[in-house]
């Protein structure tokens, strides 16, 4: 039952060996576990941070965008819940993107010393992001009960939008992590781009307050799609256009697949350049 492995020089297109990745899944499990454990070891609040972080950002958004800028008038639900929902799904996207992108460089000592399917490194980062998300989601659902908001059946689609947002983030992140192995610039550019995108997407303000003349800019932004779809499902706000939902369902897996193909293309030279 011994299997024969054949090692050849890298070709131009290096398709992932799915069965090998599946066989080595324990690596992803343990790395995800490590990330989660060490994040809160030797902290006083520990897991409390998972709850505090989304509450704090939603609170600040409510103050600044809701009160100061006065956007709360265009929102049919409490602004705090509105911005919390936006923050949650946005963090799934930006969290997977950021963590996956820096994963290869952060684990460079592993990459130059042992072999395992490298793809597992950026992929494993999704676990801690989703864990944070689930805790935040429980908070948001509790608020639905407090404010007696019934989103109806679309609430069942919440996991779908979440996964699609994660696929966008992961796809870009996986590709960026391969690029960062060679060019560390990516590590400086990405957080800045993500920050700009945060303000350019309707995370903390309603789409209804965007002037008609530049509305098209928001309509072509996939972040708008999953933000609107997620809020519709979770809080019962207005549904986004059908083409945007289709765009999400097609775009998410596509971006992830392209990211993985890009990653695999450079995977085998990582140890030489990292």
């Amino acid at each position: 039952m011994t299997t024969t492995t054949i090692v050849l020089p890298p070709g131009r297109l290096n398709l992932p060996r799915w069965n090998e990745i599946w066989h080595a899944r324990e690596v992803a499990v343990r790395m995800a576990q490590r990330d989660i454990i060490i994040r809160y070891r030797q902290t006083i609040l520990g897991v409390g941070w998972v709850i505090l972080q989304p509450l704090m950002s939603a609170g600040v958004f409510t103050l600044v965008f809701g009160r100061v800028a006065g956007f709360q008038n265009g929102v049919p639900i409490p602004f705090f819940l509105f911005s919390l929902a936006g923050t949650l799904v946005w963090t799934v996207f930006s969290g997977t993107l950021g963590r996956a992108a820096s994963a290869m460089v952060a684990n460079q000592s592993l990459v130059s010393k042992v072999y395992f399917p490298r793809l597992l490194v950026p992929l494993s980062t999704i676990a801690s992001v989703l864990l944070d998300f689930v805790v935040g989601l429980v908070l948001a659902i509790a608020m639905l009960f407090v404010w007696r908001i019934n989103p109806g059946w679309p609430v069942l689609l919440v996991p779908v939008w979440t996964l699609l947002a994660a696929m966008f983030g992961l796809g870009i992140g996986v590709a960026a992590s391969a690029l960062m192995v060679k060019y560390r610039d990516v590590g400086y550019v990405l957080p800045w781009v993500t920050q700009v995108l945060l303000y350019a997407s309707p995370v903390a303000y309603p789409l209804s307050r965007v002037p008609e003349s530049i509305r098209w800019l928001f309509d072509i932004n996939p972040a708008t799609w999953f933000l609107e779809a997620f809020r519709w499902s979770l809080t019962g706000m207005e549904a986004p256009a059908a083409w945007q939902m289709v765009g999400l369902a097609v775009g998410g897996p596509l971006v992830l697949l392209l990211g993985i193909l890009w990653f695999q293309r450079y995977e085998r030279e990582f140890a030489d350049v990292i």
């Binding site: 299997t3 024969t4 090692v7 324990e26 690596v27 042992v114």
Partner: protein, 406 residues
Amino acid sequence: MPASPSPAIRVSGLGKTYRIGTDGDTASTAAEAFVRWVRNPTQRHWTTFDALDDVSFEVPQGEAVGIVGRNGAGKSTLLKILTRVTAPSRGRIELRGRVGSLLEVGTGFHPELTGRENIYLNGALLGMTRNEINRRYDEIVDFSGVEKFLETPVKRYSSGMYVRLAFAIAAHLETEILLIDEVLAVGDAEFQRRSLGKMRDAARSGRTVLYVSHLLHTVRDLCTSAVLLEHGHLTYAGGVDATLEAYQHSFATFAERQADPANRPGVGLVRFADVSVAHENLRSGDDVVVDYSIGTDDDLPGEYYVSAHITDEGGATIVQCDSRLVGYWLNPKKPHDGRLAIRNLWLKPGRYSVDMFVCTSTGVQDMWEAAGRFDVRPELPYSHSVSGDGMNRGAVFADFDYSELP
């Protein structure tokens, strides 16, 4: 090695070429790469270096094969390719069965994780499934001897405990092929003995073992055959003794080549003109005396220093005599004839070589490996003699005595 119907490892035409930047380092930012390309779009900014070229060999199942060769001969590159850490540039490898490696023990250990958590993480990274780790868990803990500290973060471990735990995990890999780099040099004597035993077990239990080492006596001890790598080429394959002899021989031709300054590495503004060992046949404890002469260079700013390494037959450096330690700096404007005397050095019997260096604070000017050679006669510097186990351990003898306190 005879070709068998289904060898565990079959390597054919293997080559690995690295690109080396010619203008300093390779570009590490996109902007830098772009600027270079704009300045000079046609010129290539790198040269190539063949770490391995046209290496072919087969390892039959159950064989323990040693890989020997000087530093930079390509041994580590070969192991890295066999473990698939890095990809070959040319050629083909067939590996029958899973490959485990003891290249870098403790890879992936996270200081904040406990011993138990690190066993699972490291085990997974080395290619064990969860069931395998669970099954071998008690054995690993037993072997490492850290059972009391399994719930302690490894950052609180002593370095000895850390290494023992790391080695214990790697040693319990159940792969058909095991690749070993010199990890024997870790831990205390007792642990080394157990590690060596573990490797011997691996070789005897029918697993295929590839062992890379400088330490010729462990190769002799562990392996059934060996291959010799020189400058990225496989130059000899055969029985252990014949290969080690070829290695010794390659050493002699290497020393001959090094006598010509053009073949030596270093910046080369100042180089040794001559190096000679005053007495090439000594007793342990005799002074080692090396005479040297160095040329001049008017362009070299400041002063420079020299250094000498005494290296044993296996390639391990026994002593380093850096002239900075004794405040000896040399003026490049004048030629120098000098003498290095090493006193009270109780070398063990065997053959030693002397590597000589000329260095400035900015880099190595001349590196003359095997500039000299001498033998230490098998006469013990002690009043009595014992059998092997009384003097096998340790790199040198020591001037010691025992006495009873009144």
